[in-house]
Amino acid sequence: MRPKSSRREFLALGLSLPAAGMISIGPMSQLTTSAAGPSPDTAGGLSYRVLGKTGLKVTTVGFGCAYTSDASVIERAADLGVNYFDTARVYQHGNNERMVGEALKRKRKDIILSSKTPSMRKEAALADLDTSLRELGTDYLDIWCLHGRDKPEHAPDDLIEAQQIAKKQGKIRFAGVSTHVAPVMIPFLVKKAAFDVVLVAHNFTMDKSTGALLEQAAQSEMGVVAMKIMAGGSTTMKATDPLFLKLQQPGAMLGALKWVLRNSSVHTTIPTMTDMAQLEENLKAMQEPLTAAEEKLLARRLEYLAPRYCRMCGECEGSCAQGLPVASILRYLTYAEGYGQFAHGREEFQALPAALTKVRCDDCPSCTVTCPYRVQVTDRVRRAQELFA
């Protein structure tokens, strides 16, 4: 069944905005204060938290191996004490798992290894697991995730059974799911109570309600692993933009990682680390608090992103002369542009009454909708009409 969230539910849950630097929901020029909790356990320049019901003690900065340029970087991270490593079957057609396995073979007993399957059927997923184990050169995974599940029907009982079979066979210790759509998936995962870990997109562009979702997951004793932490960095910016240049400077991205770590519901993070320099930089996030200068830089990045994204405040409700549900349409656009769920966005748009899907902003001489957050509503709704109508 297609997940059908009402606007009320959506407002209550807020948006989880994964996509890489493309989305801002929090108050303009004011970063959301993430749920600062108790200080993590620290030792030797590293900080640790317990990964929910798994009981695993994980470094708060883990290692996203997907785009690492050389095995030596992963090996060094393990030597420095980073103990959570994430890969997936699909990264470089399996070559990433080979590199990770080679890099960590000396340290297997000391580290927590996670991989993921893209398969949608039990038999294929279990075959993937065997391939992952072979390529990683290990006989078990600590965490095995269903990869990129953004709808409940993408984590069906059939695949849950596959994870349970793998547990019984001793091939995995814990079962997980990775998702970009926290508002849809976390309530489902909590209710389902079949998963030990959730790997979820989380960064400073997201509002308080995303934090509430992570808290909900943590309170249900799921381990919470944050990804897409850097919010895409400077990838969406023009090279001539002063902010782009600022973000190229050493250490400029560190604040984004520190911001995520302030949230005690996040147990570990998996920033992608390409090289030794990035590894050394990211490790500082376990030693240093978020500084005022870093917070200011994050606020500047939010300001840069601000005109594009709806905060779902509801102020525009009823103000469109053509009767368009503006906030809902912007939400559908967010599904497509933010969550990578184009089909879902279009499906929601097409479910509107035909009289509304036929409306074109270009037909109005002027727009009656104004946004207190300066979101360029007409442009955004026009974009949705181009994409979905």
């Binding site: 340029s69 060094r76 057609h93 993921k116 320099a277």
Partner: protein
């Protein structure tokens, strides 16, 4: 549609033409396209290859054309990606190919497995996913052969592949950034040998290459000079093992992970003589 949007769509359609023409189900008799073709560009590639899009972007991805071909209950998915240039197309192919299997002479290089195939030719990187019934392998092979014929241009692999001495060579990859995990070495080729790895990074000029050499010396600290190229040195690193670097004009080359006792200078000299 607004005029500007229309103009952009026309422009996009023009530039996408090549990939659209390449991905064609009708090239194999008995097969037809199932549903519309889909196009993905850098901004929305993650909608299709969720979780792996950055792997394409790192190699100069421009756009991807996706079609599903159908024959009876069988389907074969064709993904044609246009990359920035032939070197980039070879780069992503080399990153995704199975290094344990040989490279077939399809375009600049290819591999066909039981349920999938990939190859690169000119600036195109093509992937096939076969969901056919058992015993339909010939369909996959036919698609690969016919699709390869539809791509004009270069079938010759990048020149850089010829730089590396062939003896005991296992695989060569283009690393899009931070060769050997070192940010100083921006982009280059790494060749894996039975023992050790060779690498070549091309800088913009001899001057910038020399500046990188100085920074490398500083980075590794203790080093021993060698007599290879215009400047060179040998050092050791906990993770990169026995190491040597040399500069020849704007090329930086060398070896890493050399075991104790290996003749680093001899290997480096052999590599240097093969560089332009």
């Amino acid at each position: 549609m607004r005029p500007l949007t229309l103009a952009m769509a026309v422009l996009a359609a023009t530039s996408l033409g090549g990939a659209r023409e390449i991905a064609d189900c009708r090239v194999v008799p008995g097969w037809e396209q199932d549903g519309p073709a889909r196009t993905f560009v850098a901004d929305n590639l993650f909608e299709y290859v969720d979780g792996n899009a950055e792997g394409y972007l790192a190699y100069g991805f421009i756009h991807l054309e996706n079609v599903t071909c159908k024959s009876g209950g069988s389907t074969i998915v064709i993904d044609v990606s246009e990359m920035s240039d032939p070197d980039a197309a070879y780069g992503i192919f080399a990153a995704n190919r199975d290094p344990k299997r040989p490279v077939a002479t399809i375009g600049m290089g290819g591999q066909i497995q039981a349920r999938s195939a990939l190859f690169c030719k000119d600036k195109y990187y093509v992937e096939f996913t076969d969901n056919s019934d058992q015993g339909r392998d010939s369909a996959l092979q036919a698609f690969v052969a016919e699709t390869e014929k539809r791509i004009p241009g270069r079938s010759r692999p990048p020149e850089a592949l010829s730089w590396f001495p062939p003896n005991k060579l296992k695989a060569i990859r283009l690393i899009p950034e931070s060769v050997l995990g070192l940010r100083l070495l921006k982009r280059g080729y790494v060749a894996e040998y039975e023992t050790g790895r060779a690498f070549v990074v091309t800088e913009d000029s001899a001057e910038s290459a020399s500046a990188v050499m100085n920074k490398l010396r500083e980075h590794f600290g203790q080093s021993v000079p060698l007599a290879v190229g215009e400047e060179s040195f040998q050092t050791k690193d906990r993770y990169l093992g026995g190491l040597c670097f040399f500069r020849k004009g704007r090329y930086l080359g060398g070896y890493a992970n050399l075991p104790e006792g290996q003749d680093a200078a001899g290997l480096a000299a052999a590599l240097a003589t093969r560089l332009p």
